[in-house]
Symmetry: C2
């Protein structure tokens, strides 16, 4: 079983001085090297008992390193916005870019530690929390964000000694905070809680490192050494997943689709469209909708009619409540973060709608086909994406994903049409023609994507779109019916 | 006097069709041209009576243009974070970058309109609000953000007719919101309020444009035309200020400073430092401090000891409450915004401290000397900066600005020292030597800066720093004493 040693090792000033000088030079060197090489971002998680001098150690670390490339990320009580977003949102939002370091106070371990510190902690709940935290860290670690976790530890005696010493001198008494005194009374319980939380969340790829915190010089040099080791560790932690060898081909969903499906002649399209739009408009203006974040994802081949379908939706919405995000290749700045980062930045609030014209599925479509990421990366992405959508749903969001499927012949026809139209010609680029050459590769990627990410909770809605009107009505119908279910509201036709 | 015409012009479908087709092509072309040329950002402010179809018009505009480069910015009730920041903060935060368009609902005119709509509006208050709004727009306009303001207008009869028509058909009734009905009762008062607000905030450089809103086709084409005209207008609106001709030289503050000032031999530096740090620590942990945002600005020549002075401050602070921002040349992304933008992004919350190691004063120092901006631009910056600091102070912030002054001889000595030290050599670059060659230009810029931005409310604190210890103690002393005054708290030494 995991326990923390009771020793309170110390350093004399004479011992510390040369160590500190070497550390400072080495830290700066390692920091610059990582910056120049555009290496992984580094998150240093700071935790441990109150009154262990965590703040002092971090201030010192900032003094030793080049503070321009470090950010202290202190998370306190969540703001109103943070309260309505998924728990991990605020951590995603403030990730440091590649090459940089973030020092995290009030990390994602806080609820875990709070639960562990209760008189009789719920072990099942704790395990579930630890599981989520582990997956969160794994996703970051696998996508260019290294994580180092430091646990500041000192014995009860040392804590009392340290705070008493500081209190004795009026010029250092300010270093002692009310929490530091309070902690004495329940020291043993808190220490046990820490041990429990550490044990449950333990992950050999990202172990907690114990910083002996009783002696200020020992504490500072250990913190510096741990950060130095992390900065020097340039290899990604997680073992590269072996590419699945016995991979059975996915069902050929797109090949077997009936592309001749179209709106029956008997149906008045304009009337039908207006009817579903009215339904959507009513639902999104319903009181119950104010609590629901709605996420709509559109994927499909070029010229499948994603834009047109989206316009038929937004036509029924108030411009103030939706946000349509056309997703193309990430820009230079976005490339400095994990691929999911830019989507975390654009999650809708309750009562708002985010419409993604292409999405995070780019990772397993264009990035796979164009070899912009490694096979291990896109294979891992299925699980990461399922987890991401699952977190949104846990938080009350309705997530609907659509694939508009066009046949190869129809696509060619539309490309030619676009080239003719004065206000559509901007939509056709050499890229579109290049993608068309890789038609079969994209089909294979899409088929595997359906198989791996169509979950019971969040299925793909796949519609043939050679008849645009048919596809548009199907999309609207799906949204309206899903909203009726989610809100438990009927809109009479 | 300014009044809005009562006419409700309309277009038939046949009239509108060719206009729309031409508009769409022209809008796309203008949009791409601006993007390619990295032209000014465009903010389209949407206002006018409720029930005038503003949302529908903007949705249509989004459909006509390439939505990838437009963002609808809808500002509703301010979040907790927005409530404690200066009023304009949320608008600064969400500015579109160069080349892009933002469509603003719930703009900075909202409080002005609300005041104007009161039974007996406070005209003096209204004028003051209009004044602030005008200065805000002027600062944006002068720094690469074009502003177009559209006022959607329709007569009382037309409003009633429009909403009644929509309500008659169950498939269009959803377009009518409760506000649209409510507005009828107080239509005349609201119309007058709108006229009053428009008149008071009227600025010939950025006039309101009236969009006749009764007829949907007329409304849409007028909106499109106004945006098209704006996109095509590539010249900056504000007349370039003539460079002041009869410019008297500023007092030679830095030349006349006594650089021999140093800490008296009788003073125990360590003891003195600890005393002021303890005072600072106590004050920043005081209950009253939780309501105060603290902004510390450090400027001064290279090697004047800014970093060292800052470390003596942060040493007394909790790592969780301060944020030290070393400011260097803006990166590619920051260059797409007005120069003040990146500072607006980094304002401290109440109870927090932002320490700027170099700052917005770069505009009138390095950017002036290195000719990175035009003389008109840096001359305008004095007023913009005073206004910026004034807004922070109005919002309850304490803003302290320090200039650490080093003599030319002492700087040389320190440059040589730095080159020797293993963990200081990173601080000396060819830039430092180049800046040194322009020593006199920097002195002149600094002296003029003191004269133009040392206001009664926000003076510069200028300290000779050849003796680093002297400067550090002076800085700490100033901060502690200013905080004592601001919080009305004494810390006994």
């Amino acid at each position: 079983m995991f326990t923390i040693a009771e020793a309170d090792p110390a350093l004399t000033k004479e011992q510390a001085k040369p160590i500190e000088a070497r550390l400072r030079t080495a830290l700066l060197k390692a920091q610059y090297k990582r910056l120049q090489k555009n290496g992984r971002a580094l998150l240093v998680v700071i935790a441990g008992i109150d009154g262990a001098g965590k703040g002092v150690a971090v201030t010192l670390l900032n003094e030793w390193m080049d503070a321009r490339h470090i950010r202290t990320l202190a998370f306190g009580e969540p703001s109103t916005e943070e309260q309505v977003q998924p728990f991990f949102w605020r951590y995603w939002r403030r990730l440091p870019p590649r090459g940089r370091t973030g020092i995290v106070f009030g990390s994602w371990y806080k609820p875990l530690l709070a639960e562990a510190a209760r008189k009789s902690p719920d072990l099942q709940k704790l395990s579930a929390m630890a599981q989520e935290v582990r997956r969160f860290e794994e996703t970051l670690d696998n996508n260019g964000v290294q994580i180092v976790k430091l646990w500041f530890h000192l014995s009860r005696d040392a804590q009392v000694r340290r705070t008493d010493q500081l209190l004795a001198d009026p010029d250092t008494a300010w270093q002692v905070m009310p929490e530091d005194i309070k902690v004495r009374k329940k020291f043993d319980r808190l220490r046990k809680a820490g041990e429990l939380a550490i044990r449950l969340s333990n992950d050999p790829s990202r172990p907690w490192q114990i910083i002996p915190a009783a002696d200020p010089l020992m504490r500072a040099t250990c913190t510096g050494k741990a950060v130095l080791a992390a900065l020097r560790d340039t290899a990604a932690k997680s073992p590269a997943q072996p590419a699945a060898t016995d991979q059975a081909a996915s069902p050929e969903v797109l090949q077997e689709l009936d592309y001749s499906l179209s709106l029956p002649k008997s149906v008045d399209y304009d009337r039908e469209l207006a009817r579903w739009q009215a339904g959507l408009a009513k639902l999104t203006r319903h009181e119950k909708f104010r609590k629901l974040p709605l996420v709509l994802v559109f994927e499909g081949q070029d010229a499948a009619g994603k834009g047109g379908a989206i316009r038929r939706i937004t036509h029924a919405l108030d411009a103030r409540q939706f946000h349509a995000l056309p997703i193309s290749a990430p820009n230079q700045y976005e490339l400095a973060f994990p691929y999911l980062w830019r989507f975390w930045q654009n999650l809708p609030l309750p009562g708002a709608i985010a419409i993604f014209d292409r999405s995070w599925y780019g990772r397993v479509l264009v990035e796979r086909v164009e070899k912009l990421c490694s096979p291990a990366e896109w294979q891992r992405a299925y699980g990461e994406i399922n987890e991401f959508e699952s977190l949104l749903q846990d938080n009350g969001a309705l997530v609907l994903k659509f694939w508009l499927a066009v046949s190869k012949e129809k696509q060619l026809e539309r490309f030619h049409d676009r080239e003719q139209s004065p206000f559509k010609s901007f939509k056709i680029t050499p890229d579109d023609w290049r993608n068309r050459e890789k038609w079969d590769d994209y089909l294979e990627a899409a088929n595997e994507m359906f198989e791996r990410t169509s979950t019971g909770r969040c299925p793909w809605h796949i519609f043939p779109a050679d008849d645009k009107r048919y596809a548009r009505i199907k999309v609207l119908e799906t949204i309206v019916e899903s909203l009726e279910n989610a809100l438990d509201v009927r809109t009479a036709p």
